[in-house]
């Protein structure tokens, strides 16, 4: 029998839904929606703690609203005047949804298929128990010290509880292999949360191999992990943070597929497309992997003759779009063994590249890495002999619902097949409705933060089946740093406060006024020059991202 001292309420009866019950609490037991409560039921003659989530709270008895008539007179003053006691008058009626008891064999929740009887005492679920059973940690008891486990990421604590009271450690393996989505409006803490996860993954207990596709230059501060004691292992391990700026980002031309080339070229005619495809395939069949535009054009002229008008038009376009773009090179390629390594987090700084180039470098890199992972799993020679996890800011740019990105195909392949080959993706986006639905729905773990736009909320609802309606209802009201974590990494969704970073946060809004004034002063000093202030093309870290 439960000790009545920690009882916070009493079951009144069943609720509207089959899994729902209603209970009553006095006002001093202030229970918020989203709180986890427990009660005991016998399951096969053994007492089990059943967990339930509070979904609604309404006042059933309290001071009359008439007491609120004058905003300058507090209702408690009116109550005191009338001799109405205010401390224990209020009664609340709460609704809770049964999550289940923790089945230690299945290491997840099992539904007792039976609601608590009226009169059943309810308690607040203890911290350690929740830390054990909420995330999908596979613990064999329902109360474990999860801080001692390897491969877990301490992401934050339950929002309804005091700071750091009930901590959430999620299994890195789950979200890193079955993909992760971090979805929220700009400024809600997506990059911050991603950085918290990166910090956790780079700790000595995990030593992940990470790749960050950073279109805004928001991850420069991760380097602070190096030399920081918290990240050092007893065996001398220390995470290595590598930055690749556009100078070091190269795409070998032969790595491009015909679809990629078509995407770069400026409106090629049907005839041009047909000629280019034929020649491109011929080049790809060659032994050499280091051919350039000259060789390609020579091949076209060989097939179609050197005075073919379409070939001429193609030559002009190819030279302009590929040859004159430093990103593409006949020989150079980003060396995979340099950008992925266990214990290494590589940040691809793409902030000075235009969107098309960002997409192309991403496409080619993903394709190459996927090939290597495939090779490794199939026991072929491979440059990448360990699982990898790649994180994308502006995920909708690389896997757009509109389909207009060369990277979409490989993103779809990796999200649907990657788990078999140790290739996980993390998609960060402020516009979930603009992400390809196949890609989004394959992200097994979701971290959803404040999101107000109704179509984006719908996109989350549709793809995030694990998060119940009651949890998603919270999304518009969250403040930066608050999140709903749901999906494969969790046994049941939870509303959390994301912890503080150990490294500093590099992605603040720009001080717009300051920059205006500076730019103005600059101009005053150089009255002859008529250059306008340059806020940077493709750099949307400003006030608000418009895409």
């Amino acid at each position: 029998m439960a000790d009545r001292s920690d009882v916070v309420g009493t079951v009144a009866g069943p609720g509207d839904d089959p899994n729902e019950f209603v209970f009553v609490t006095p006002s001093d037991k202030s229970i918020k929606t989203g709180e986890f409560i427990t009660y005991t039921v016998p399951v096969e003659d053994e007492p089990r703690s059943v967990f339930a989530r509070v979904t609604n709270r309404e006042l059933i008895r309290g001071l009359p609203e008439g007491f609120l008539a004058d905003p300058e007179v507090g209702p408690e003053t009116v109550a005191a005047t009338l001799g109405v006691p205010t401390d224990d008058t209020e009664l609340y009626r709460l609704t809770a949804t049964v999550i289940g008891y923790y089945d230690t064999n299945m290491t997840t929740f099992a539904n007792p298929r039976q609601l608590p009887d009226p009169g059943t005492p309810l308690s607040i679920a203890p911290h350690q128990q929740l830390e054990t059973v909420l995330p999908n940690l596979g613990c064999e008891t329902d109360s474990t010290d999860v801080t001692t486990l390897d491969g877990v990421a301490h992401i934050g604590w339950l929002l309804n509880r005091p700071a750091e009271a009930t901590n959430l450690h999620i299994p890195i393996e789950e979200f890193a292999s079955t993909h992760l989505a971090i979805l929220a409006s700009t400024g809600s803490g997506k990059s911050y949360t991603a950085s918290v996860l990166i910090e956790e993954m780079m700790r000595p207990t995990s030593r992940a191999s990470l790749l960050v596709f950073d279109p805004h230059g928001e991850y420069d501060t991760l380097a602070e992990m190096q030399g920081e004691e918290a990240f050092q292992g007893e065996d001398g391990y220390e995470p290595s943070i590598e930055y690749y700026d556009p100078e070091r980002l190269r795409v070998r031309i032969s790595e491009l597929e015909i679809g990629d080339v078509m995407a770069i070229l400026d409106n090629p005619s049907n005839r041009m497309q047909e000629r280019l495809s034929t020649a491109w395939r011929a080049m790809q069949r060659q032994e050499s992997r280091t051919w350039g535009i000259d060789e390609l054009i020579a091949e076209m002229e060989r097939i179609y003759g050197d005075d073919d008008a379409s070939v001429g038009a193609l030559e002009w376009r190819l030279r302009r779009s590929i040859e004159r773009n430093d990103l593409f090179h006949p020989e150079e390629n980003v060396p995979l063994d340099e950008i992925v390594d266990p214990g290494q987090c590589t940040v691809l700084q793409m902030d000075t590249l235009d969107r098309r180039d960002q997409q192309l470098i991403t496409t080619v890199l993903l394709r190459r890495m996927y090939r290597e992972r495939l090779g490794d799993v199939r026991d072929r020679d491979s440059d990448i002999e360990h699982p990898i996890f790649a994180l994308f800011e502006e995920g909708h740019r690389f896997a757009p619902a509109s389909g207009e990105a060369p990277s979409l195909g490989i993103m779809r392949t990796i999200t649907s097949e990657g788990r078999k080959f140790g290739f996980g993706l993390g998609i960060i986006s402020q516009r979930p409705s603009k992400i390809d639905q196949d890609v989004l729905s394959q992200c097994g773990t979701q971290i959803s933060m404040q999101i107000k736009n109704p179509s984006d909320q719908d996109a989350i609802k549709n793809s995030v089946e694990a998060a119940g309606e009651d949890v998603l209802r919270e999304l518009p009201g969250l403040t930066p740093g608050q999140a709903v974590v749901s999906g494969d990494a969790m046994n049941t969704p939870a509303l959390i406060q994301v912890r503080q970073r150990r490294t500093s946060h590099g992605a603040g809004s720009r001080p717009v006024i300051e920059e205006w004034r500076e730019a103005y002063d600059e101009r005053q000093r150089e009255p002859t020059q008529s250059e306008s202030a340059d806020f940077g093309e493709g750099d949307s870290t400003g006030v608000q991202s418009l895409d």
Partner: protein, 235 residues
Amino acid sequence: MHRSTTRQQYGDEAMTDTPTNVDSPDLDSCVRIGSIVSSNSHLDYVAEVYKERDCDRPPELHEREFGQPVFIKKTVDGTEHAVMGVIYDTQLVDPDQGRTGPRLAQDDQAQFTPGYIEERTTLAGVALLGTAEIAEDGGIQEPTHQMPRWTLEVEDTVFQCPDQVTVSFHTVDDQIQLAYMDRLLDIAGDLGSEVIVALIGRLRGMLPDNDPNQRVLDVVEQNVQWQAREQRGMV
């Protein structure tokens, strides 16, 4: 006890005890409104209003009007207390008209049967609100709006309560109090909200205009009025 004797006693008291200072009114010098003749319940008494014949200075009409705060003195365990009340109802009785009132058997026996009302008279309903101790200086202290435990007796004198005492009784820690309100509503029945509104009106007039309790009284009055309208099916 003979009624006239009682009257005489009180009259003497009134003459000897005169108020010493204006700040703390002497409860002994207050206007006598009448005496208790019966009760309907523990908190609900009937007083017969004094007439010219009954005492030196019978109450004037405005001193015993509807909503007038009153008190009755009671010595309990050696301590003098004021049992606080309010006139919540009045009734005229004319024993010769329609024979509604209690009837007298014989005209000449009138003054020996105080339980009967022998002439045209005014009865006042007095609802008890709470109690307070009578202080040394003649004012009150330790006011409480809890239900008074003591019963009044027939012939107990009902005094008009001075404004200052009314304010003291309604003030606990600088906070205005009408904690008896639900009991009073219950006793006063149909006139319940009216008597509370009348009380609030009096308190308002007694407090300075800028007293923060004025606004509290407004809210309480609104609530009472609204409740009354709801009960009467107006809203």
